[in-house]
């Protein structure tokens, strides 16, 4: 039994990294732009579908180009549909992202059809590795490594570069940053593109594991919101800790009480919010108070 529990905890950690990858784009967009992006799940789905279309002709390049395509689309949407709503009633932005989510899901259904599409992992990543009681498939290990690299690169970008500092400053006090002569509009567009591109990466990586169907955004959007809420809205570190916590909780609940495995993440969210309403690492932001 102990061996199985250890195995489940590790499996939950690996699953947690996938949750982190799905949630981190949502967290960045909220943290920097203050946009609660209900359309996050459809960018995840678009990543999978773009890869599906590109892989036959471009092979492994599809993995890079699909998220890039999602990011470019994200930037176009931010410029045309989101930007006019900044500074207005927050509900308008919420409705807009909700509308975008419905529209893109229908668009996917129209272009690629309602039926699910097969999507296997590449042959060199098939099989698994066993260390004592722990079994991890090579593909999930690959997802874990990619997620860690993305997280590290993001952290370095946000904390170690001039652009990163502008983004962080802009998220706290946009007016002051604008007064310093920095074009915040472009910064916001880039951040939105980055967040959606990361959602696209998550979609590409999840495609060989989960069903590739037009409604696959549903599989991403709720865990993403739960992870971001538990971690603290806009908190990078909080999203990471929370994603791993959710992954482990889900895995352990499947071991002991499988029927509650979906409910457990919501229960965790309720407990965290009761104890710490801002989430684990959430801070008080004057802009959103």
């Amino acid at each position: 039994m102990t061996e199985l529990i250890i195995s489940q905890v590790v499996n939950g950690l690996v699953l947690g990294f996938l949750y982190v990858l799905i949630a981190i784009g949502l967290s960045i967009i909220f943290g920097m732009l203050g946009v609660v992006n209900f359309a996050h799940g459809v960018y995840f789905a678009l990543g999978a579908y773009f890869a599906l279309s590109l892989r036959d002709n471009l092979g492994p390049w599809a993995i890079v180009l699909a998220p890039l395509g999602v990011g470019i689309l994200g930037m176009a949407i931010e410029t045309t549909l989101m930007r006019p709503l900044y500074g207005k009633e927050p509900l308008l932005g919420l409705f807009m992202t909700f509308g975008i989510a419905l529209f893109i899901e229908e668009l996917i259904r129209t272009i690629w059809g309602a039926a699910g599409r097969p999507f296997n992992p590449p042959a060199f990543l098939s099989g698994f590795i066993i260390w004592g009681p722990v079994l991890v498939t090579k593909y999930r290990l690959f997802v874990l490594v990619v997620t860690m690299l993305i997280l590290a690169a993001l952290w370095l970008f946000l904390h170690g570069t001039r652009y990163g500092r502008i983004i962080r400053a802009g998220s706290r006090d946009p007016e002051m940053v604008s007064m310093l002569g920095i074009n915040l509009k472009r910064v916001f567009t880039a951040v939105f593109g980055l967040g959606t591109a990361i959602a696209g990466i998550a979609g590409v990586l999840a495609a060989p594991l989960w069903s590739v169907v037009p409604s696959m955004s549903e599989a991403a959007i709720m865990p993403a919101f739960v992870v971001v809420t538990i971690g603290g809205l806009g908190s990078f570190g909080g999203a990471v800790i929370s994603g791993l916590l959710v992954g482990i909780s889900v895995a352990l609940s499947i071991q002991f009480w499988p029927a509650a495995s979906t409910a457990v993440m919501y229960a965790l969210m309720i407990v965290v919010l009761l104890i710490r309403p801002r989430g684990l690492l959430g801070e008080s932001w004057e802009r959103f108070e």
Partner: protein
């Protein structure tokens, strides 16, 4: 005086009288047109099938199947156009609300659909209360035509009690140590209870039993438990994207074809989405678009479906095609949209040409009694859609068909008068 002069006609009839007379006259002249307009008013068939969630593809396929039935009728019945009004089936509560909307606002003549047994069990009392014909095309929980039956609900799909019997003899060849993963609602739980009874009575062992919430995306933790238990057969009460996810993740961990796999029923689209490398198992199937069992009429349906939608129909398409055909036939033959009359017709009528022998709904539980198939996913799949070898028909002896669905005493269905 001047005014009154102008208000009266030269014949001394007041304007008010003239207008009233004109109105009556116009209404008489226009009467045939009014009748014509009423005659052209569509006969609406309500449809409750999922538009999103794990069973979304079944929803679309079912809707497509019903559209073929409308085409078969030339788009008209009783000289009135047929209109399918499709609302979402997403949860018991919202499906109930949509059912009421179909009855009260859309004024439908009958309702068909229902993939999830939980949703169908929730709308059955609404059908009974509103005296509205409900053609349940896709649910499998035994109690729908068992202890929860009612006189306005008819079921096209197979009850779990029958499907478990059909597939068990073939599965037990793999061994009698079984693991169960089922969706945590009426259908999955009923499937577990039915199959467990058959297995245990035959001396088999349940190594494990897990319920998975509907819409589970990641089964890796379940699969770890299965892997450790080393069952001969994994029996899953999962459908839609849940089954697709399980198959993909079993493939990821190298368990494809390493044990027997089955479920109470299977939709081809769930396997198509998993792909040929990940698909395996032996399943009960209500119908398959290829195979020697295909009748001329069903083959025509396959051709029409392919022509209209560009891909072959999976079983849900056939179910809703048959369901819509049954409703429209009843309307045509009774020349009525009254649900009581339609139900009376369906209790007596035999539908010829859909399966080897004429099939019909039993009058004491409203279950469609029909032979089914036991089919195994091919070892080598070369076609994009044709995944199955048909192993056998159930029951093997057609004379046993009625008995296979249970007697009135065994079923436990009693209609309220």
């Amino acid at each position: 005086m001047k005014d009154s002069k102008y208000r009266s006609s030269p014949l001394g009839i007041s304007r008010r009288t003239l207008l009233a007379g004109a109105a009556i006259g116009v209404s008489q002249i226009a009467a045939p047109f009014v009748v014509t307009a009423r005659a052209a008013e569509a006969i609406k068939i309500g449809m409750l099938l999922p538009k999103s969630g794990p069973y979304a593809i079944q929803g679309e396929t079912g809707h497509n199947g019903a559209l073929i039935a409308v085409d078969d009728f030339g788009g008209h019945v009783l000289d009135r156009p047929i209109e399918i009004v499709w609302l979402d089936e997403s949860s018991p509560q919202s499906t109930q609300q949509n059912m009421r909307k179909l009855i009260e606002e859309e004024k439908v003549a009958a309702i068909q659909g229902g993939v999830s047994s939980g949703d169908v069990l929730a709308i059955m009392p609404v059908a009974e209360q509103a005296k509205m014909l409900l053609m349940a095309t896709g649910p499998n929980a035994t109690e729908i035509t068992g202890k929860n039956c009612n006189k306005y609900t008819f079921r096209v799909d197979l009850p779990n009690k029958v499907t478990v019997q059909s597939v068990y003899p073939q599965l037990k060849e793999r061994g009698k140590k079984w693991y169960f993963i089922v969706a945590s609602y009426a259908w999955g739980i009923d499937a577990y209870n039915q199959m467990k009874d058959v297995l245990v009575k035959d001396g088999g062992t349940v190594l494990g039993y897990d319920q998975a919430p509907l819409g589970t995306t990641d089964f890796s933790s379940y699969i770890l438990k299965v892997r450790q238990a080393k069952p001969d057969v994994l029996y899953v009460g999962l459908g839609g994207t849940d089954l697709t996810n399980l198959l993909k993740q079993m493939h990821e961990i190298g368990l494809t074809r390493q044990m027997g796999l089955s479920s109470p029923i299977v939709n081809d689209s769930d396997l198509w989405a998993a792909g040929p490398d990940a698909s395996f198992g032996t399943y009960p199937k209500l119908w398959n678009y290829t195979g020697p069992h295909l009748t001329k009429r069903s083959a025509e349906f396959v051709d029409a479906y392919k022509k209209k939608f560009g891909a072959p129909p999976e079983v849900e398409g056939w179910q809703d095609w048959f369901g819509a055909t049954a409703i429209l036939t009843a309307i045509k033959e009774t020349k009525s949209t009254d649900s009581s009359k339609l139900a009376g017709f369906l209790e007596e009528h035999k539908f010829d040409g859909y399966k080897d022998a004429p099939i019909g709904f039993r009058n004491f539980d409203h279950q469609l009694v029909q032979p089914l198939l036991v089919a195994t996913v091919r070892d080598k799949i070369t076609d994009k859609y044709d995944y199955f070898n048909i192993d056998s028909e159930y029951p093997k002896d057609p004379a046993q068909l009625e008995a296979a669905y249970g007697s009135q005493a065994e079923i436990g269905c009693v209609f309220k008068s």
